[in-house]
Symmetry: C2
Subunit: 495 residues, 2 copies
């Protein structure tokens, strides 16, 4: 709730330009600052940061002091999320410089907002004491979000500093995987009893300075905290104050469980337009709530992860990450692709005799392999999406198979036909053109078959079909394409 | 607001299983139904739908009547979003059968919820009268969402049937592109004046049966509807009733404009954890509001569109779409890739002489091209993401360039080295291995260069870098890879 307390001190101009403008302004102030410092001390840019801060105190002229003050003022007025944005957009040295100027009390909130990669760079610049202080400004479920990035001794300190209830909450929150409802949950659920009047509820609420953010409903529970229903705030407002809670409460639209998949919770939020939802245990006891801001972050992050995974990046990359970090993030994918490419290469190697006799095959074979890969990826993307929505049941699988194979056959005849004519004209060889048509059609059908089979199989083994499918299909259509084309050519053309 | 009215009639079990269960149940009922009908009239499955409904009346036995009633009851209890889900998961004939059984009054809401592709199939099964009736159950901004899929005569009828104010709203809502704030906006903003007490506001609100969904704040406006501030509902609740609105209102966290990009609005919602935000015109006059449910839908849809675009699908595809529809959705991408593959093939063709002399080149060349494409796609994905967040300024571009080139060079030496050794061992030719190392390193560096240049250039020309980048990079690294490898081989190995 810390953000609401500060609401009034924070600048609130229009959304569109504010954060870009703030970034430009901070960058400009930084540059001015460094220019002046640079005049005083030329090699500033190349000095390590710690050093520079030490000397900074000594050499700071009046002008740099002014600049610094201006920068600090600017930062103090910005929303934590905006500071996070600026930190992400700055190269490492400037980033750490700004990070050092941010008021210590806000470190925690800002660490929550930055991307994982940038968070790592910020945390590694802080000592244990600073980290513990930052963590202590946060709620239990927020600390749990940071926990994977914090050193063990920091977590130990934080843990022992928490009151008993929050310690339990932290332990609970940390026990869930990122993609479980438990990881999105917070504990700011307001509870009321069914046998009181709305007047009493209102009086209870007026004791708060502010309600927890995203509070659109109160949860009605019995003595054992069993969830009986929900009381939407908007209902509370429009109803007569002397009504009993029990008579206006509603059944909850959804009840989430901590071990459910976060993706399913996100679908429920999207489907039923929720702002918050209760989380219960197996005995229907209320344990917390999930709010739409967490869901929105989750949906966005998952979308990004899928994009990254498809391109073979292990995780979100700090654009200004070191060369070594980038290499680590990317090498495994390249290695896998190298292995599949090597297999394809060996398939070609097996037909070297044919290629030596008819060199045109070498020029045409990448076309056959390429179209198979593209078409297979189309099929997979469509199937993965439908499977993710749970809309492909086993009984419809046969229907789908048939359709994909037919589409592939049509594509094969059309595009294979085009390339067949081109090959015939180029190499003045009708049989070569015919082999081209046949090979393209067969490889497209292979792509369709595997495009359905691969995600279905990964799913059967409970693997995420979004991740591995693309490598697998390309491996199959490359090696398969070369084999089909060169094999047919050897049979038909080479004697 | 129609969904809230029905809240009480609708089943509300747990989120996790409800919609999957409902789908299974409906499918089972359908199958039972058809089995019985099938016994009575064998070729039912193959009869066109209209026919079958006509005869259905005559042949329906007691059992089928019972089944039908059971199915209708089940459907009536389901949330519109859940019915939409079920319709999407059924093959066309079963889908239309169910669609026919849904109560006419709910057609509008359900059409809003289904995917574009499935919506098309449903709309084409309805006549003008049914469509007009369906549209008339919706709000102006909801009709605007359906408008692109509705026949012109339906829109004309709907338009002339609307009261003046809604007609204006519909006209306004239809004038925006899908990715503008105006397209996400609704008109259910509650307005209050600054010079009244909270007591008066509460009395005003009690006149409603329910507040519009996702109402977390009221908008404070002056006589000319100029936005002065916001009054959070939670603030209204915790403050004393005799306070003036002016003394508890806050500046709005953001003010959106109708012509802003929806993506920027989504970022603002994500960054500041909003539930709703006011939309104003250039004179600061309040024209509507955007709510987080629309934002959540937008973020999800955009994420999906990017996935589809990357795989070369023009639009979301109905899994049960006809072969012809699927072909249309996919052909353009295949055609583009065929052209780029053909160019690469001609590059190889230019070196046929070298290949004839050293057939090993044909087997090794796809490895060089492949790793370039993969590595280039990694770079592009990272850059596109950073650019989308607005975090890559021109001044940092040089820094990025240098880093990507260095990472590429390291990858080239490492993986090129591996393949160089493998090639040397396989073909007993050290020089061939050396050519392999050189070619892979150069192609990886070309990929890095283009991986930064392509999205930056597309951006300069205000094109979406997410869409075209992947084809372009693969085209460059394929043709470039073949050219570099075969060229080097010709220079060094072939005499």
């Amino acid at each position: 709730m810390s953000e609401t307390v500060e609401a009034k001190e924070i600048e609130r101009p229009e959304a569109r330009e504010r954060v870009q403008d703030a970034l430009a302004e901070v960058s400009a102030l930084l540059r001015k600052h460094r220019l002046v410092e640079g005049l005083v001390h030329e090699q500033l840019e190349h000095a390590p940061l710690g050093d520079h801060m030490g000397r900074g105190e000594l050499i700071e002229s009046l002008v740099t002091k002014q600049n610094r003050a201006q920068l600090t003022r600017k930062l103090d007025r910005l929303h934590p999320a905006d500071i996070a944005y600026i930190l992400e957009a700055l190269p490492l040295d400037e980033r750490l410089y700004i990070w050092d100027m941010v008021r210590a009390g806000r470190d925690g909130e800002i660490l929550l907002e930055v991307s994982d990669a940038v968070r790592e760079s910020l945390i590694s610049s802080m000592d244990t004491e600073e980290l513990v202080a930052a963590a202590e400004t946060l709620d239990a479920e927020e600390i749990a979000d940071l926990a994977p990035d914090l050193p063990q001794e920091v977590m130990d300190d934080v843990f022992s500093g928490l009151p008993l209830e929050e310690r339990e909450q932290l332990r609970a929150a940390m026990s869930f995987e990122d993609d479980m409802v438990g990881a999105l949950m917070d504990f700011e659920d307001l509870q009321v009893r069914p046998d009181v009047t709305l007047e009493v509820v209102l009086r209870y609420l007026r004791r708060f300075d502010e309600l927890p953010s995203q509070t659109d409903q109160l949860f009605v529970v019995d003595r054992d905290e069993k969830l009986l229903g929900i009381l939407p705030v908007n209902r509370l407002i429009v109803s007569e104050p002397d009504t009993l809670v029990a008579s206006v409460m509603q059944p909850p639209v959804v009840k989430l469980m901590q071990h459910e998949k976060a993706g399913d919770a996100a679908s429920a939020f999207e489907r039923y337009d929720l702002v918050s939802a209760p989380v219960v245990d197996t005995n229907d006891k209320l344990v917390g709530r999930v709010t739409v801001d967490e869901i929105l972050d989750f949906v966005r992050e998952r979308g990004e992860e899928e994009m990254l995974a498809q391109a073979g990046l292990r995780e979100e990359e700090d654009v200004f990450a070191s060369v070594w970090k980038s290499f680590q993030n990317r090498w495994s994918w390249l290695a896998i692709n190298l292995v599949t490419a090597f297999i394809a290469s060996r398939v070609i190697g097996a037909f070297e005799g044919s290629i030596a006799k008819l060199v045109a095959l070498a020029a045409l074979m990448p076309i056959v392999a390429g179209i198979g890969g593209n078409s297979g990826n189309q099929t997979i993307t469509m199937i993965v999406r439908a499977v993710a929505l749970g809309q492909v049941t086993r009984e419809h699988a046969r229907k789908l198979f048939r359709k994909e194979i037919i589409v592939a056959a049509i594509n094969g005849v059309v595009w294979g036909g085009v390339m067949g004519v081109v090959a015939t004209l180029l190499y003045k060889d009708v049989m070569l053109g015919l082999v081209m048509v046949l090979a393209m059609t067969l490889n497209l059908m292979l792509a369709a078959l595997m495009g359905v089979l691969i995600p279905m199989t990964l799913l059967r083994f409970e693997r995420d079909p979004a991740v591995g499918s693309s490598v697998l299909i390309t491996a199959v259509t490359d090696s398969g394409g070369f084999f089909i084309f060169l094999g047919l050519a050897t049979l038909i053309l080479i004697r």
